[in-house]
Symmetry: C2
Subunit: 114 residues, 2 copies
Amino acid sequence: MKKKKYTVRIRVWVDEESGPFLGIGRIILLEKIKETGSITNAAKSIKMSYRQAWQLVEDMNKRANTPLVEKILGGKHGSGAVLTKAGEVTIKEFYKLENKIQSYIQKESGKIKF
Amino acid sequence: MKKKKYTVRIRVWVDEESGPFLGIGRIILLEKIKETGSITNAAKSIKMSYRQAWQLVEDMNKRANTPLVEKILGGKHGSGAVLTKAGEVTIKEFYKLENKIQSYIQKESGKIKF
């Protein structure tokens, strides 16, 4: 009988001592803020309420060593938000971590004995 | 300013070509079947419907190389279910995989630059 083929899938979260810091959902929110220039539009694009998106941004800013999102008040096109340098780095580091774990799993998954 | 401390958390799933095979929820279901000797009681203990537990067992049995759960009909105490040798091995291998990934992360997480 042909042996079945298995693949391993993971999900990664990063916690700070006071609670959750990052997960793929929060990373996508950061990316959307970068793309759209505002929390309101970022929230809309992922069908999240503004209130929840705002809360997640507050959470991340509080748990980061340096805030990831900066709110801009009264700009030319009304208020908006941009990623800080730390915000940009955080997105890259999260994916780097995820990829490293995936590569490790790739290397190990030949040894699975199901 | 004191640097914040981060920890990495993961969740692991194993998929077969036709769909999901294992995750921590399914592993707990297998453990409960082993503990209680029946799918009905296992389902109750994790507040799952019998129908869903039965479906998950069917799924796992179909996607495993050898069935993980064997149904016993008309035993002394009515019908029940036991783990096969493959079922026992599968639980161990799943935790082994999870632990290996966790150890790797432990080793790597000093390098996170958030």
